[in-house]
């Protein structure tokens, strides 16, 4: 396979790292420190070959013929126009399918980069500027610019605790503006818009919210029967809001969620939850027909 050229493995001046696959290694004899490269311009197209019985999954890279002025490489000539890369444990495919495994690998990479960074620090004075640059570019090539915020506080509960406290601060005013209750999706949008960078994942938001009550913060997470999640001010009493909802429905005879939402100035999602809660408490009953879902005062209970 004559398309390969020898290289140092570091990024050249006008090169940038696009994607990195770990778990694949080439040895020059017994020496680990060797690198071979194929210029991207040589690649015609790439296809995946599924694993079979006794055969690993492969990626097939089809190549143009080697240019005449090519740098020296391991082979002078080859009768093949493609190479195949074989992956132990389906490397590429599995790593992306299993994000949690990827997280573990990412953690390893962070640890490794930390140790290299420390070695650079330790060797200050004994290390040449040239070598420092080389190490730093190794770090970059591993795809880690800076350890993420999670690392500052540690992953898991400590991070979520901090986050919960932060949320309590951010959400107090918006909650008061919205009558003391917001759906978790509204919270997610609001918080991430405020953060700008270092966006929160939905999982991190939920986990932080689960801690609000335990941390005795002035808000809490509530999950309705339907599965809808909301954040409420501790002072907010949804059951009391139900009494006023009943009044509103009685005045109008009957209401749909949309009509009720409009009257009261709530989102339809939260309006529906309030009406459903009122139904659960026996204050309302429902009329479900082709015309839609309407709520009525529960005359079955109040009338003889």
């Amino acid at each position: 396979m004559d398309r390969f050229v020898w290289t140092s493995g570091l990024l050249e001046i006008n090169e940038t790292l696009v994607i990195q696959q770990r778990g694949v290694r080439i040895y020059d004899g017994e020496e680990k420190e060797c690198c071979m490269a194929i210029l991207l311009s040589q690649i015609v197209f790439i296809e995946e070959q599924a694993a079979g019985i006794g055969k690993s999954a492969k990626i097939v890279v089809h190549l143009h013929p080697a240019p005449p002025n090519k740098e020296p490489g391991p082979f002078q000539s080859s009768k093949n126009s493609y190479v195949k890369l074989s992956f132990k444990e389906h490397g590429q495919i599995e790593a992306f399918e299993d994000l949690s495994k990827l997280m573990i690998k990412a953690k390893e990479m962070v640890e490794l980069s930390k140790s290299i960074a420390n070695k650079i620090k330790d060797k200050q004075g004994n290390i040449t500027e040239d070598e420092t640059i080389r190490f730093k570019s190794y770090l970059l090539s591993m795809g880690i610019a800076n350890p993420v915020t999670r690392e500052t506080y540690g992953s898991g509960t400590q991070y979520h605790m901090q986050l919960a406290k932060q949320l309590a601060g951010i959400l107090q005013a918006p909650l008061e503006e919205r009558g003391g209750i917001m759906s978790l999706t509204e919270v997610y949008c609001l918080v991430n818009r405020a953060r700008g960078m270092e966006l929160l994942s939905p999982e991190d938001l939920v986990n932080a919210c689960k801690m609000l009550e335990a941390l005795k913060l002035p808000l809490r997470l509530r999950v309705f029967d339907s599965g809808v999640m909301v954040i409420e001010l501790q002072s907010h009493k949804e059951e009391e809001m139900v009494a006023s909802a009943l009044e509103t429905v009685s005045e109008k005879g009957s209401l749909t969620s949309e009509e009720f939402a409009k009257l009261v100035g709530m989102s339809v999602l939260l309006a529906k939850e309030r009406l459903l809660l009122a139904e659960k408490m026996g204050h309302l009953c429902r009329d479900d027909s082709v015309e839609g879902l309407r709520f009525y005062p529960n005359l079955f209970m109040t009338q003889s």
Partner: protein, 176 residues
Amino acid sequence: MAMSFEWPWQYRFPPFFTLQPNVDTRQKQLAAWCSLVLSFCRLHKQSSMTVMEAQESPLFNNVKLQRKLPVESIQIVLEELRKKGNLEWLDKSKSSFLIMWRRPEEWGKLIYQWVSRSGQNNSVFTLYELTNGEDTEDEEFHGLDEATLLRALQALQQEHKAEIITVSDGRGVKFF
């Protein structure tokens, strides 16, 4: 036929035609439906019905309100009536049923009371005499359909107060 029948307030209440998810509300709703079915059938002297008839009958289909009770919910109402003893399925596929606005045991009691009052214990009656005879004109069970009557007498038979027998042109009953 439906002229003098007074519909209950629930019949004009749209939620009546939606099976209520709240258990307590549903209990009240079903009780109202059972009561409506029985009074409707009593007034219309309807002792049996098919499920298909029921679906289209004004009983479960309020055309003016544009609401009808869905067939799955009708089945639930009928099952409630069966549990209470007011309904009996006439076939295995549950397509037609006997509807008794009074339970057979209650009819049995009324009939036996009349028999005792008029001092006719140990007498024999044909079924026809009981429901259509002159002597019973003032009685509630006068005009009762045969299927229900039979079940009433079977209930009395269980209590050893009567025995269903064969007479010259059909069936009869002896009271003890």
